[in-house]
């Protein structure tokens, strides 16, 4: 059984995605939709981290149920930087890069959930399947959000 390994990896990548969303949010505080929605979406990943840690116990995994945090100071500096640089167009390119990163990371997480769900189905572990069925759709929504924000902003940013 290699399920533990997948859970371990998923726990890491959900944590990673949550941080990515939070950091991108802070970097683009003046792009208010990104700022607010990315924070809402980070909560989903943080919630997934807790769910994975809980179910992980059944597979001998000792995973931290608390989502990872960054130092508060770094966060404040990024937000302030965003406010100060908000009138320059260079950060706009950075925004596209960040959205792309979120999209890629969420895709990775989505694939992990897919694998886990397949395995859970195979061995008829309904508890695990339930977790995947609850969390995976949210991952897909995170992906679609990043994709849609890329679509909305690319034209303006790249042609101006």
């Amino acid at each position: 059984m290699k399920l533990g390994l997948v859970l371990h990896e998923l726990h890491r990548s959900e944590n990673d995605l949550a941080l990515e969303l939070l950091e991108a949010s802070e970097r683009h505080k003046v792009d208010h939709e990104i700022y607010h929605v990315a924070r809402d979406l980070a909560k989903w990943s943080q919630d997934h981290v807790r769910a994975i840690a809980e179910i992980g116990k059944q597979y001998g995994q000792d995973l931290d149920p608390e989502p990872r945090h960054e130092f508060n100071l770094a966060e404040k500096i990024r937000e302030r930087g965003s406010d100060l640089l908000g009138r320059k167009s260079a950060p706009a390119l950075l925004m596209l890069r960040d959205l792309r990163e979120i999209y890629m990371k969420a895709s990775g997480v989505s694939v992990d959930w897919e694998m886990l769900a397949q395995a859970a189905q195979g061995i008829k572990h309904t508890d695990l399947l339930d977790v995947a069925a609850r969390c995976h759709p949210e991952t897909l929504r995170q992906m679609r959000w990043a994709n849609s924000m890329l679509k909305v902003n690319s034209t303006q940013i790249l042609v101006s």
């Binding site: 929605v37 908000g86 167009s89 929504r141 034209t155």
Partner: protein
């Protein structure tokens, strides 16, 4: 005949009627001092544009001047009645400070110029920007005050001619959520209900809708039902003690920002008790099981902890709604401008869908509009949609529009939804929108976080064109100001919330060199020499009627089909409801009568969006829902607001519209009776909060949020504890600084947060965390009206009454007599 002070008695005399009967006629008339009805030279047909009701009225003209107004007895909307804004607001047209000549900025100052110079400057800048950057450099932000012909012309020239995706209207601030919620649930904008549903309903639920102040004539209709036999039960959801709340069977006053939780609690009870129409759901809706699952998480006890509304009251409300035989639901800003706006409004649709309460008399949903022409901005392509409800993500629709306009489909931007105003402001802020043309609206007062907005609009690199009738706060920041004609000075049509189209005819000439908005747009298009793909002028019309005919062609076969309407048909009688075409030559009172919706993938206006992330659904995802002609039930979980109270900001601030004023007081502030009725900004707080802050009625207080502060006199009102209310009409045009605060701010939007509903892109004006502190003892009570939601909790020694020449003649007719009908 009886004279009434309609400032003191905003809703006038009762004319009770019973369920299913016709609403009696009462013709309201207000004329200039010293003028009598028989001295009037002629009466000119129009409807009101000072709220979304669309009251039909005639303008009295004497010696080529407007001298008064009179309701139109035969009209289906108001049966002759007018509200205070209608009765007194017309006087603003003849204010001495109307703009009469174009202005342009020279050495920092706005100076008078002529039309040729002003337009050539705009055209030169447009061409430079097209050359340098392309159409992404140019944005248009329009108003709820134009006519359909004007929105359509702007839509064609901006989308089809310049090829910019940046076109939005201030409907975004009022009712973008109404459109979004209708598109989510029914695949298409357009109200399922009709105002006549009030005549038939046995339960009327008003969600965040202070109808008594926002649509006073419609409220009169409800008051008349309440005064008659078998009155309807009224449900009111509002944190304030509004006139609606005072007559409600049940008043729920939830904590601001928790509407989705409340709706889920109601749905939990309705579904749990089986008060649903299973056959209707089965035959006419998709997505029910997801809703059933979702609302299981919201039993009344859980909802009570989120909303601070007693569980028993939630049960009682659900019982009333669940047992209604004819349920009318109406929604407005209390939901639209709050946290999770679209998700909450969609849950209201869900209530009517699962109860099978659609398409029959008394069974309707009115996702209300804030302005009378809001429907037109949404229909004509002035508000983040393609004209005639065409779906920007459906290639066939774009091709069809290109055929109507005779342009290449690639000429019409459709790579993403048309840009909404908050995003446009962001693009202006980062320097990628370099020309912004604002027509008839006032973002320097009406958008959130005003300090930021002022800093964006005053950037040197932004070329700001403002087209208006007064030198508004925004106009004062412009590079070019174009003087416009307004209502009563130009001809066109507009459509109210229940799809009724009215004709508004020109009664008098505009002052000075002011021009109708249509003429300004046509002139701009001509000077830019916009062409179609055969080299012919892109815009082939030249006056209101020919513009209307062009618009009709654009609507052919679409839900908002206008093809059966002509100016001639609109003259003389009553307004006509779309769709009006060969099949429905008299118009259509209700849509979705047979449970058939305009949601088929190839026909629908929108594939919808994720209610939390706002991401548009891809065509395949939409098709997977299998909505072929069915309503779409979308569930939503509750998410807390993005700004919640803290130690430093322990209260919640909501802002809103009030009875005597309209949108930044541009007109109503210049109508003396209306201005005197609510002369200055106030702040409402509850008795308990006032006591704990050591504040008394009339004290001057400073209200602060992380964005700024405002000073206002306190009115101790029936608002729920923990919440402050500021009316959003007050700005600076009539203060010394003109466009910004000198010392203390007074515009509510100094305080509001830059945040919007991800699905509808409507700014959230109703959940800022705030603090309040007394800064000066009052010398008397606040001047806030006593007739409305701002009524004091205990007597303050005076009541709001009219100042002068307020007398309104109300002519009552017995049922069947019907006056001049």
């Amino acid at each position: 005949m009886a004279g009434k002070d309609r400032i003191a008695e905003p809703w006038g005399t009762r004319t009770p009627y019973a369920v299913g009967e016709e609403w009696p006629v009462r013709v309201d008339m207000h004329l200039e001092d010293g003028v009598t009805a028989d001295e009037v030279d002629h009466w000119v047909q129009t409807a009101s544009i000072l709220h979304s009701n669309g009251d039909a009225l005639d303008i009295a003209v004497k010696d080529d001047r407007m001298v008064g107004v009179r309701g139109r007895a035969e009209d289906r909307v108001n049966h002759g009645r007018l509200g205070p804004k209608d009765l007194y607001g017309w006087q603003a047209n003849s204010s001495p400070d109307r703009l009469t000549r174009p202005l342009m900025r020279k050495r920092g100052k706005l100076v008078e110029t002529d039309w040729d110079t002003a337009m050539e400057l705009i055209v030169k800048r447009t061409n430079e920007l097209l050359e340098e950057q392309g159409s992404s450099a140019i944005g248009f932000y329009t108003t709820g005050q134009l006519f359909a012909e004007e929105y359509y012309t702007l839509g064609v020239l901006a989308h089809g001619g310049l090829g910019t995706n940046h076109v939005d209207g201030n409907t975004r601030l009022c009712t973008a959520t109404a459109a979004a919620a209708l598109k989510e649930s029914f695949g298409c904008d357009g109200q399922p209900g009709s105002y006549t549903d009030i005549d038939h309903a046995d339960v009327i639920a008003l969600y965040g809708h202070n109808m008594a102040e926002t649509q006073s004539v419609l409220w009169t209709r409800i008051l008349d039902r309440l005064a008659g036999p078998n009155p309807p039960q009224i449900i009111c959801v509002d944190p304030r003690m509004t006139p609606v709340a005072r007559v409600a069977t049940v008043h729920l006053a939830p904590r601001p920002g928790t509407n989705v939780a409340l709706m889920n609690g109601l749905l939990h009870e309705i579904i749990g008790n089986g008060w649903i129409d299973r056959d209707y759901i089965q035959a006419h809706a998709v997505g029910y099981s997801e809703l059933e699952q979702r609302v299981k998480e919201y039993p009344p006890e859980v909802v009570e902890t989120i909303c601070d509304v007693p569980a028993e009251k939630i049960r009682e409300t659900a019982r009333i709604i669940g047992n209604a035989e004819r349920l009318l639901s109406t929604v407005l800003q209390g939901f639209y401008q709050s946290n999770q706006a679209t998700a909450a409004a969609v849950q209201v649709n869900n209530v009517n869908i699962i109860r099978g309460m659609l398409g029959k008399p008394g069974c309707g949903v009115l996702q209300m509009n804030g302005q009378p022409t809001a429907q037109n901005t949404r229909e004509c392509g002035g508000d983040g949609d393609l004209p005639a409800f065409r779906n920007w993500s459906n290639d066939a629709h774009v091709e069809d529009l290109a055929r109507v306009w005779n342009v290449d489909p690639m000429a019409i931007p459709h790579y993403s939804p048309p840009t909404h105003v908050m995003q446009m402001m962001r693009y202006a802020e980062d320097g990628s929108i370099r020309m912004l043309w604002v027509s008839g609206t006032n973002p320097a007062v009406s958008l959130p976080e005003l300090r930021r907005i002022r800093s964006i609009l005053t950037q040197k690199r932004l070329f700001l064109v403002v087209q208006d009738i007064f030198l508004s706060e925004t106009a004062q920041l412009a590079d070019v100001v174009l003087p416009a004609a307004t209502w009563g000075e130009k001809t066109g049509t507009f459509t109210n919330v229940d799809r009724t189209v009215h004709l508004s005819e020109k009664a008098v000439d505009p002052p000075g060199e002011a021009r109708p908005d249509l003429d300004i747009f046509l002139d701009y298009a001509r000077r830019l020499d916009l062409r179609d793909k055969d080299g012919q002028p892109l815009i082939k019309w030249h006056d209101p009627e020919s513009a209307f005919e062009a618009w009709k062609e654009c609507t052919r076969g679409r839900p908002c089909d206008y093809t059966g309407i002509t100016y001639e048909k609109l003259r003389g009688g009553s307004g006509i409801q779309w769709p009006c075409n060969e099949e429905n030559p008299q118009g259509s009172e209700r849509i979705y009568e047979d449970g058939k919706f305009w949601s088929a993938p190839e026909y629908c206006e929108s594939y919808g969006r994720d209610l939390v992330t706002g991401a548009p659904l891809e065509p395949d995802e939409y098709k997977a829902l299998n909505p072929e002609g069915k309503a779409i039930i979308k569930a939503a979980g509750y998410l807390p607001p993005h700004e919640v109270p803290s130690e430093k900001f322990p209260l919640q601030l909501i802002t809103g519209r009030t009875l005597y004023h309209f949108h930044t007081r541009t007109k109503t502030g210049r109508a003396p009776q209306l201005q005197d009725a609510a002369p200055e900004v106030w702040v409402e707080m509850s008795d308990g909060d006032a006591r704990s802050h050591g504040i008394r009625e009339g004290d001057l207080a400073r209200i602060t949020t992380p964005r700024g502060s405002v000073e206002a006199k306190v009115r101790i009102s029936g608002i729920r504890p923990g919440v402050l209310f500021l009316p959003f009409h007050y700005g600076y045009w009539d203060t010394d600084a003109g466009h910004k605060p000198v010392k203390a701010g007074r515009a509510a939007n100094e305080l509001t947060i830059t945040d919007w509903d991800a699905a509808s892109k409507q700014p959230i004006f109703k959940t800022a965390a705030a603090s309040i502190r007394k800064i000066k003892l009052g010398s008397g009570p606040s001047s806030a009206p006593t007739t409305t939601a701002s009524a004091p909790v205990r007597p303050i020694g005076w009541e709001t009454t009219g100042s002068h020449n307020v007398e309104v003649q109300e002519s009552l007719y017995e049922a069947g007599e019907g006056g001049s009908r």
